[in-house]
Symmetry: C2
Subunit: 333 residues, 2 copies
């Protein structure tokens, strides 16, 4: 910049120099003048005319690159967007790393999120730390808390018998409330569901609590929500239709302001199956009329309650019988 | 640019004008000269000095933004990288859109890929077209071909009874061979598997055929490959260890050159279970010594043969009994 100003002053000086010090004499044929200008004029004069031009060009170049990078940084980091806090409770099982990797591939495409991964464990595992730390989500926090012994799923119980991730999600709520100045939106995203990235645009616009339909929930292709003009009019569900909020955990998002306002609201183990969502929303003081209908007035499917089948490991014994062991892997499966 | 050249000619003209037409007279105090320069000089003269500077700045600005965008486009599209042709055979089922969405979220993170989606159908469905067209993968082709009636899975047969996607994958091979000048690497990626994005760096480096271990294949946590210095020494598997190439379909990639060299190589329906991979590789003239061991000499798991459980739709009848119908959705579930 200093160089540029200096050159511009030189430039001015040339333009206002007295006649006897001018670089070129009388008007000549244009071609000859240009030739003379570049090859015969005093070096100082040539510099004085060219330098400001070069400087202005370089200044423009720098400014252009700066603007462009600023623009792309804003687009990727979304500094101006409200942050989405994605809460994922996860537990140890053969497909855990696959599930977290797949979810991470989705979240890595979403700007301005913070991923809160809460492990069901007594200590943080390197499997989870490695997976969420090296998969492309830039902002995350790894928490852990074990499910109490008497609330763990017994091997004789079906998978839906006990509420999942209660203590883990409650820890995430606590973490979010720890900083009273924290703003943004909270969304509970299990590691086996499927998310369209456009869902996160809907989540981000949440003022209090927003809702949308979830595919494969409640034993249906999707649990229906009747919505109009951004409001919820009613529910079309088959499983326990007397639920106050017949929603799936993946079917709503909460503005952090609400979490701060009602510090006691949380999930609980001793709740009838299917009522965790209603418990959380009622303890946050939410009424049906407060709900913001998203996803084109609840008419678009942007999230699927998919379930991953446990991998078939039926040949493990056969391999051992043959006296073979698998070669070790770096990191985890 | 034209404006800029014109202004520069004006600029030259001012610098070489005869003395009697010069804009400013004799040298005066600097402050007064500058003041005069901006407020008293003939407008033409002022323009002639300022315009080239402004033009040079704007030119620099434009050039800077262009360079920057070119740079980021090269980084995201990877024009200099070999293209990976990802072949995905897919068939109609409730979770089809979820599966394609999830795979797309992974592929959208990978530069320089072309996604070849081959539908098992008599005509292309809008579900597949909408899903792959709006999920963020920039380069794709939607093909379709129906499985012959007598090769379709009967409802009484377990899912692994018949080879899947034979005709669909063969159509993809045909499409790839259609253009003899097409170069790159082919990888067969089913829509229910899980892929670490780093796998695609391994795939891209394929000179002939590259291999790596696949988790949850062959009834094991992973089918082991003994590798050293980039070569395959042996296999540690339990399921049919006499297979020539005891690999999963997700465990290898093929350079297109090989497909062009052996135009007859393809998959077939009448093949013993587990032998499709061996059939394809042997018909391509591949020997074990040709295989390139990837993923840190086969010691990293970057792909998981996950399976998605069919969604539970056990309350559909209950909803109908109650005389309720789901509100319609835009597009598909």
């Amino acid at each position: 910049l200093i160089c540029c100003i200096y050159a511009y002053l030189l430039h001015l000086n040339v333009a206002i120099m007295p006649p006897n010090s001018r670089c070129i004499g009388d008007r000549k044929s244009f071609k000859r003048i240009v030739w003379q200008y570049f090859w015969r004029t005093h070096q100082y004069c040539r510099l004085a005319v060219l330098l400001p031009l070069i400087c202005a060009f370089v200044l423009g170049l720098t400014f252009g690159i700066w603007i462009c990078q600023l623009d792309s940084r804003a687009a990727s980091n979304g500094n101006i967007l409200p942050t989405i806090y994605v809460v994922t409770a996860t537990y140890k099982r053969p497909e855990q790393r696959a599930e977290l990797t797949r979810l991470c591939n989705t979240l890595a495409r979403v700007p301005a999120i913070h991923w809160l991964v809460v492990e069901d464990a007594d200590s943080p595992s390197s499997l989870v730390a490695d997976t969420i730390g090296n998969c492309g989500v830039l902002s995350y926090t790894h928490l852990y808390v074990a499910t109490p012994e008497d609330e763990k799923l017994k091997s004789t119980e079906p998978y839906w018998w006990r509420p999942e991730g209660v203590r883990q999600r409650n820890l995430a709520f606590e973490w979010l409330r720890n900083d009273p100045s924290r703003t943004g939106v909270m969304y509970i995203a299990d590691d086996d569901n499927t998310y369209d990235v456009r869902l996160f645009d809907e989540i981000r616009a949440t003022r209090r609590v927003s809702v949308w339909p979830v595919a494969f929930a409640g034993g249906l292709l999707y649990e229906g929500i009747r919505c109009a003009h951004g409001r919820v009019l009613g529910w079309i569900v088959a499983f326990k239709p007397h639920r106050q909020f017949p929603l799936d955990m993946a079917g709503f998002a909460i503005n952090l302001q609400l979490l701060h306002e009602r510090p006691a609201a949380k999930l609980a183990y001793k709740v009838e199956r299917g009522f965790q969502e209603s418990l959380l929303l009622t303890s946050l003081g939410v009424r049906q009329s407060d709900l913001e209908a998203r996803a084109n007035d609840c008419s678009r499917i942007l999230v699927w309650h998919t379930r991953t089948a446990p991998p078939k490991l039926n040949n493990v014994a056969l391999l051992a019988e043959r006296g073979l062991t698998l070669p070790p892997v770096i990191g985890h499966v």
